[in-house]
Symmetry: C2
Subunit: 389 residues, 2 copies
């Protein structure tokens, strides 16, 4: 957006989603049970409508065309915003928006198959080594000596010397691999955490021959060092998903209400331990944490699921390196609800600032975005001219 | 709907709006301040989506095409439902839906100008007599003898012997004239209360020559008798708007939150005492009653106001005898958002059962509805066949 704003003489507005970042409606009590219920995508969309109406100076007819942009959940919101408020936004660029990532819409294992294929592509041994590593990790955690070695070699803050610890450590590592696949950009970035260019390729160099036992675990120790940017402090692996820049407490609640996205591993077509999707377990955990049960069909029913024919002026872009493409719209729905596939892109690379390392495919996608934005603005201006006439 | 359901092999479902009729989510405490907040059009639409999803047996792709029907506020909901949930309903017939009846969208006096013209058309003296009656009513209320005469002649339960009483009585009568204009059907009906065919014409026969003073008030006494179906019990005119079959406590609250519809009288182009629209007063009354302030732009912002270009498969029908046509869509927006004008119809006559007295214009409107419904169903079936292929 920063790259093209001047060309369109556009103002850029970042509207922070309620219950994220500094936008806490009840201060530090916002996430308490009695206040968190106002956190939903529908309420966020209504906020955006209010904000844009305010920026349009409460005009009965909008003065300026507005284009919604977003990546990931933000991309879902951009698309949903155009679907629900087409009178407020002239069009939406929805990058890496997994709007099909809901129960019974996409097989739960696709996500981690894409993660795995990123590591396979990086080098032929990498995914195999990772796959083999789990049993070694668990056997190292099972005895005092080896678990102490693991703690020291991996610079863990606490020992992983029980089955429970091993479970948590395995989860942390899985999340690490997923994250690096998501942000597998052609340049060094600091999106979720500081990472080098092509992080998957970088870490896979430590796993590029057939390894086992201590050697394999030493290799994975080096992978962890890359992920943690070689920092000296010990690694608190119990942070799990929360490691990094993204404070996602709000998302955690949304995942327990409307954003139920089944993700599983099979251990066959992916490099992870098998872990089936168990909605009942998931729902009970949500109930325990937030006193709510998730509504698995809510997002589909509220926003249309696979029935997008009546929508208009939305571009769904997806990079094929991105695990979230599993839930993306990969085929155009109509002349004005279009899919753009970006072969060499990870998670919403097309929304990042242009970079000398950008692959040709993402440059093309950005040009398509610009063409569509121009078209939507022209359409808006024609309609407004017609109304004034 | 009953007339055409068999032809379409259709099931008819009446979904009662939450907080109306028997659909009280908190029983007789539903309208209490701490429970009434869940009453909104957006929540009602979400209810309908849930219900239809249930009737479709929670299918990811709908099994059956669904058409939304509604008249008046129900027509607004039908249109809004198609706008917000086009994946749930294939199209909407929105009869007499005043979706433009919001602040700054339509001059507030149009509504009562249409009411007045109904009485003018019935006979040339009728509206003039009504217009003259207000000052006589007020002067009769001002003294004991004449107010007692009024009580007896009009069969009022209590005397109208103060300015305050006169205000309330005038309001009741205004509401009576409005109601009869709304339900000025060509056949006897029991929609809001039992009324003869063409009630405006019927009551205007008592006001068909230049009258004044006691004669005029006697004439209006006969109008009241028609309106109350000649019932023997005295008239509790303090019921005001609530007289009749329509229990509208829910609407009263919605009018204080999202459904702010400015209606005023000028005393010039209409037959009423002048009464300007005063939002501040209106808002304060709401605050006193429900501890909420109305949001005058909410409906426009939430549902698009005059910006309906992105919608599809909606027919807005309006009868030109209907005061609510003031806020209706009277011009087609696009090929698939169309206006149907029915010259000789009052409030959503086109949704009523066919009747030998129906004017030709309403028969034509019903045929247009059928054609559109057929088109939407065909479109739905083609799309589903395409998905299966």
């Amino acid at each position: 957006m920063w790259d093209i704003a001047a060309e369109f003489k556009a103002k850029i507005v970042f509207a922070e989603h309620r219950y994220y970042g500094a936008s806490m409606p009840f201060g530090d009590k916002s996430l308490d049970n009695q206040h968190i219920g106002y956190l939903s995508s529908a309420q966020a969309l209504a906020d955006y409508a209010e904000l844009i109406n305010y920026l349009q100076k409460n005009a009965l007819k909008p003065k300026y065309p507005v284009i919604a942009f977003g990546g990931s959940y933000g991309g879902m919101l951009a698309a949903y915003f155009r679907m629900k408020y087409p009178h407020v936004v002239a069009g939406a660029i929805a990058a890496s928006a997994p709007i099909h990532m809901f129960p019974d819409m996409v097989p739960c294992e696709v996500f981690n198959r894409i993660v795995t294929s990123s590591y396979k592509v990086a080098n032929s041994k990498c995914a195999d080594n990772i796959k083999k590593s789990w049993s070694f990790i668990r056997s190292y955690a099972a005895s005092a000596n080896t678990s102490e070695w693991l703690r020291q070699n991996w610079n863990l803050c606490g020992p992983a010397n029980s089955t429970l610890h091993a479970d948590v450590l395995v989860e942390f590592l899985e999340s690490m691999y997923v994250t690096m696949a998501m942000v597998n950009y052609p340049f060094a970035s600091d999106f979720l955490m500081p990472l080098p260019a092509q992080p998957v390729k970088v870490v896979c160099q430590y796993l590029n021959e057939t390894l086992k036992d201590k050697e394999l675990l030493e290799g994975i120790g080096k992978v962890i060092s890359v992920f943690t940017n070689n920092k000296k402090e010990c690694l608190n692996y119990t942070e799990g998903d929360n490691y990094g820049n993204l404070n996602a407490s709000g998302w955690d609640y949304q995942a327990c209400t409307e954003m139920v996205m089944p993700i599983c591993t099979t251990g066959k077509n992916d490099m992870f331990e098998p872990s089936p999707w168990n909605f009942t377990q998931y729902a009970e955990a949500c109930h325990k944490k937030y006193n709510v049960y998730p509504r698995p069909n809510m997002a589909r029913l509220e926003y249309g699921g696979a029935m997008l024919e009546a929508a208009s002026n939305i571009v769904f872009s997806n990079g094929l390196l991105d695990p979230w493409a599993a839930g993306g719209i990969l085929n155009s729905v109509s002349d004005s609800v279009k899919a753009v596939i970006i072969i060499d892109a990870a998670h919403h690379l097309d929304l990042m600032a242009s970079n000398p390392s950008d692959p040709e495919s993402v440059k093309m996608a950005r040009q398509i975005h610009k063409d569509n934005i121009r078209k939507w603005i022209d359409e808006f201006n024609r309609r407004m001219a017609h109304r004034r006439a």
